[in-house]
Symmetry: C2
Subunit: 176 residues, 2 copies
């Protein structure tokens, strides 16, 4: 009883913004933002995050000095939860929580994007694996001492990369 | 009209798990997980993430090989949204979206934790800045090629650190 009172069954979040991106469909988007091999231009696509009018601009102050931001967003085209998924890297299925696939219990995405500029309520960012129309739940500064672990072992991903000699998932499709 | 149909006002997520941690209150917890200077033992605290019975264990497969995981969680003790906050590092207030403070429009936290072991539905992790009873929304593998940018500029945080000669926020309090 006590326990269930302390443990709400759900939490509701309102989007703080929306993405305008050249990627309209899942198949168009790179699998991770920084990876752009195989795009039409070879350059990462630029996208705009439009901050909702409900958020005071004061909340964005001090953000401009960061090179990268974390974007937490809703995989709004997710088809629902699948415990095992077939990632683009390697063969076979993996537990979905050991992947970055959209088919998660809660379809929340996480992506480190490069911040290009801020103009009023518009954040221009680069290297997005985020689809057009994506609802944004949170923006956080990328802070190397808390976030950067370049040598962190990466289980099945390291294994597949060692076998294939490739350090990233198969190339993304071109933007529309 | 069309637009509002395409833009839901809110998204509801159910916790996929819960944290058992030695940190009971905000004041007890380190400001970022990896930072443990000033803790009683100098060692990062261990915590357990207990995965909810609603999540099939298959979803956790392939996770054990990762050295670090991203935990997305609810700041369940957040006092609500404040556009400007006073972070522990430096003086003065900052726009909340340029900080990792809990007082965000959507109180979602993000922390890279070290994975120690998985036993059934229990994930033992280290270096948590996550409070006891915290609802967990998502777990993702930490993947260096997508997540690690050790030289990424960090705006006001770099500026404060350059002034003080210290590379992290003031020390955390001791676990209870």
């Amino acid at each position: 009883m006590m326990e269930s009172m302390q443990r709400p069954a759900g939490f509701t979040f309102r989007p703080i913004g929306w993405v305008r991106s050249p990627y309209a469909r899942r198949i168009d988007a790179p699998h991770q933002g920084p990876v752009t091999e195989g795009t039409e231009t070879g350059a990462p696509a630029e996208a705009i995050i439009e901050i909702d009018a409900s958020i005071p601009l004061k909340a964005l102050e001090d953000l401009a000095g960061f090179e990268r931001l974390w974007i937490l967003f809703v995989f709004h085209q997710s088809k629902g939860f699948a415990p095992k998924v077939r990632p683009p890297r390697g063969r076979g299925k993996r537990g979905v929580l050991a992947t970055r696939a959209p088919d998660r219990p809660n379809p929340i995405g996480l992506s480190a994007v490069e911040l290009l500029r801020i103009e009023g309520r518009e954040l221009a960012v680069r290297a997005v694996d985020i689809l057009d129309g994506t609802p944004v739940l949170d923006i956080k500064p990328y802070v190397p001492y808390a976030d950067a672990f370049p040598l962190s072992r990466a289980g099945w991903i390291d294994e597949v990369d060692a076998l294939t000699g490739v350090g990233f998932a198969p190339g993304p499709k071109r933007p529309r």
